[in-house]
């Protein structure tokens, strides 16, 4: 219980470090870095405490869902209230965010301070504000608060991408990231308003006092409306004239707009590769491990709402599967190390969406966890390489760094094996589970859902090969062979503050998959799928009954009974599991071997020309930027100009016309005010005579 009392401090500590860095960073050693490290370290410790409490190690209470602060009180309407929802999902995410943020702060000492960058207080203030906003988003117990912090992390992303604002690229990339994600957030905002108008609440989980529900949550209300037809109190449905499920699908898809923007899913993924203009620790923290995860986390957070709509699930799965493959193909031809990682990030978030869409809630959370670790590791490793290479990111100028920077090499290799999905590194277990869930639900679900899942699964499976290939193309080009430039022959030495975080994450990337070794658990019958148990909760009572965010409810009640997602095992349960695992492993290994044969030599050469026209297509990222720019300049701009013409011509024209008629009229009429008294007297007399005549005629005097 006590841990929950201090839980707001998890969010507030980085916020304090933001204030300290902003206002006192100039006068502090290391430009405010130490405050950030202390704050995120404190948040990490508190998060561990909260996690232990949620797990039940420190007492009986295992969840928390309360409002702590009313920001804007509404009269007979919705209030903007900040509240904390602490359940296994948010506790896990708290751990991930605070851990990565802590390590990135330490790494920044090496990447920013030791490189003699200026503007460090601004940098650490940005990191602090970002961490605070992200943690606020994670613990948010209602949609309005989540939206607020969702926007705040977007702002921090903008500020940090544009950190080197005196160069040409970063400000432009920052604006692009801001605008593209804002485009998605626009739909999210409509969705939030729609959900609040429909249900009158944005709560993710019901608030209880002494066992009674005092404030119901919107996923629960939606479930009642769909399952029992209990639509009283949802007046919106009559206004809209749609069925409950159809309307909830519309709302879910609107919210999904924000998710697609923030998690860089097709077609709003174009900002993420450009965001690599920011400092590399920022890329690791924001554009790989945490902020990009916010979209996926949001879907997981309100999974009860999506799980009642098969259409929304199919859309999520297809978008995810397509993005996974689409981004992976672009990663194959990139020359900058960070670009490869950026496309790989997009691709991996595609896997998480695929898992969420195809009913693999645990798989998605698992992949989110492992990906946060190994992708942060890869980005920090790339950062280390970039320090060594004097900020040259082109992989064709590297080579042979293996002997010269062994710590970076071995940790990077650990992350790469995890990314490629090679057993027993983290990515294997999670990616395998994602694909397995998509496969069995694709085989078992009836109607259009099954084929949709199978298509998404096929794309995800193909992307496994690509992932293995581009990952090890990157490793071979960067670390193996002979050095291809003078800098690569004599790289700069990196310090402890770079090697330390790399080592921690390197060990984690190799081991974090052990928290949910589903194939081993199924084979041996041992209960070692800890993450599954963690998200499943106790069978009776406890937080799943309290909050309704447990796995039993999601999987058995909603997905199976309402959405019609069911599993099919053509080879038996264990057989299908092993076949799926072996298939994805074989593809990943094949990808690695192809990369080795093409780029593993001492003097690798470019093979991209063999792709022919496809190379041009891939190098231009499928012309995604071009068509989006065309949408803006070729379509939106003329439409806006036409609207402007209408506004200036017709709307303003009427107003201006009225006033010019009045001006003209009065300029003529004022002439009778001549200033000559006799004229006035004449007018008076004429008026009197006229009146008399009128009275005379109407009175019948004549």
């Amino acid at each position: 219980m006590a841990a929950f009392t201090y839980a707001p401090a998890i969010v507030l500590l980085p916020f304090v470090s933001f204030l300290v860095a902003l206002f006192a960073g100039d006068r502090m050693p290391k430009g405010g870095a130490l405050a950030g490290i202390a704050a995120t370290g404190g948040s990490l410790l508190l998060s561990i405490w909260v996690t232990l409490t949620v797990a039940g190690f420190t007492g009986s209470s295992t969840s928390y869902n309360e409002f702590v602060y009313t920001w804007v009180a509404g009269v007979d309407s919705i209030a903007l209230r900040f509240g904390l929802l602490l359940d296994p999902l948010s506790a896990l995410m708290l751990l991930i965010v605070t851990l990565i943020s802590f390590l990135v702060h330490i790494f920044s000492l090496g990447y920013m301070n030791d490189e003699g960058e200026t503007g460090l207080p601004r940098y650490y203030a940005g990191l602090g504000l970002f961490t605070a906003s992200m943690l606020g988003f994670v613990v948010a117990n209602n949609l309005l608060m989540a939206f607020t912090f969702f926007e705040l992390v977007g702002l921090c992303s903008y500020l940090l991408i544009g950190f080197w604002f005196r160069e040409d690229g970063p400000p432009s990339a920052a604006k692009k990231a801001f605008l593209v994600t804002r485009f998605g957030d626009y739909f999210f905002l409509i969705g939030v308003v729609g959900i609040l108008a429909t249900f009158g609440t944005g709560l993710f989980a019901p608030i209880r006092e002494g066992g009674d529900v005092v404030a119901q949550s919107f996923p629960a209300l939606a479930e009642q409306a769909v399952v029992n037809g209990a639509t009283e109190g949802i007046a919106m449905l009559d206004t809209i004239g749609m069925g409950a499920q159809a309307w909830f699908t519309v709302l879910g898809v609107l919210v999904l707009g924000g998710v697609i923007g923030k998690s860089a899913q097709f077609p709003l993924h174009t900002w993420l590769p450009d965001a690599m203009e920011g400092p590399t620790p920022v890329s690791a923290l924001i554009h790989a491990a945490t902020m990009v995860a916010a979209g996926v986390y949001l879907v997981a957070r309100m999974y009860g709402f999506y799980a009642i709509s098969p259409t929304a699930l199919a859309i999520i799965a297809l978008v995810g599967g397509f993005t996974a493959l689409f981004a992976a193909t672009m990663g194959v031809v990139k020359q900058e190390i960070k670009q490869v990682l950026a496309y790989s990030t997009i691709s991996q978030y595609g896997y998480m969406m695929l898992a969420l869409g195809s009913g693999g809630y645990v798989a998605a959370v698992f992949h989110l966890t492992t990906h946060a670790v190994f992708k942060a590791l890869l980005f920090l490793g790339a950062g280390s390489v970039i320090i060594a290479m004097h900020h040259n990111e082109n992989m064709w100028d590297m080579g042979g760094l293996k002997e010269r920077m062994p710590v970076t090499y071995w940790t990077f290799l650990s992350g790469s094996l995890a990314l490629a999905g090679i057993v027993p590194f983290a990515g294997f277990w999670s990616k395998d589970e994602v694909l397995y869930e998509a496969l069995i639900h694709g085989l078992g679900s009836s109607g259009g859902l099954g084929p949709a899942y199978l298509v998404a699964y096929a794309m995800g499976l193909l992307a496994v090969f690509m992932t293995g290939f581009y990952t090890f193309r990157m490793v071979y080009l960067t670390f193996h062979g002979e050095p291809r430039s003078d800098i690569a022959r004599d790289p700069v030495e990196v310090g402890w503050n770079v090697k330390g975080p790399l080592s921690v994450l390197g060990v984690l990337a190799a081991t974090v998959g052990l928290i949910n070794m589903k194939p081993v658990a199924e084979l041996t019958g041992a209960h070692i799928d800890f993450l599954h148990a963690w998200l499943h909760g106790p069978d009776e009572g406890g937080w799943p009954a309290q909050l309704g965010t447990g796995l039993v409810r999601y999987e058995e009640t909603l997905l199976h009974d309402v959405a019609g997602v069911s599993a099919g095992y053509p080879l038996g349960e264990i057989g299908t599991l092993l076949a799926s695992a072996l298939l994805s492993l074989a593809l990943a290994v094949a990808g690695v071997l192809v990369a080795r044969s093409l780029y593993g030599g001492a003097e690798p050469v470019e093979h991209t020309d063999k792709l022919g026209n496809a190379k041009t297509l891939l190098m231009h990222n499928y012309y995604q930027d071009e068509y989006q720019v065309w949408l803006a300049t070729g379509f939106t701009y003329p439409v806006a100009r036409a609207m402007d013409k209408f506004d200036q011509g017709v709307v303003d024209g009427v107003v201006n016309g009225v006033s010019s008629v009045s001006l003209f009229g009065s300029s003529r009429i004022r002439k009778i005010q001549s200033g000559v008294v006799s004229n006035y007297a004449t007018l008076l007399t004429l008026g009197l005579v006229l009146l008399l005549v009128v009275f005379g005629i109407s009175g019948g005097w004549f």
Binding site: R670, Q673, S674, G675, V676, V677, S678, A681, T682, T685
Partner: protein, 101 residues
Amino acid sequence: MAIPAEYYLLLSAAVFCIGLFGVLTRRNALIFLMSVELMLNAANINFVAFSLQHGNLTGQVFALFGMAIAAAEVAVGIGIILVLYRNFTDVDVTKATTMRW
């Protein structure tokens, strides 16, 4: 043998019209003022005539008030004409047109 009221009214209308004619045609401010006096006194004649007709003294009292007001008006009017003369070195009412738009 009382004179019928119609004759008084005709007299008053004639005096009023003379005054009105003066106001409309003359340009000298003093003549202007005199014409206004004529119109006022035309009204006074009406008051007195109707008072006699109805045997009611109220009209005669009002005629006294009218004369008092006419005296006051002349005082103010002469003052205005003096200022007019100082500013425009003339008492022509059509010259003083600086207050228009």
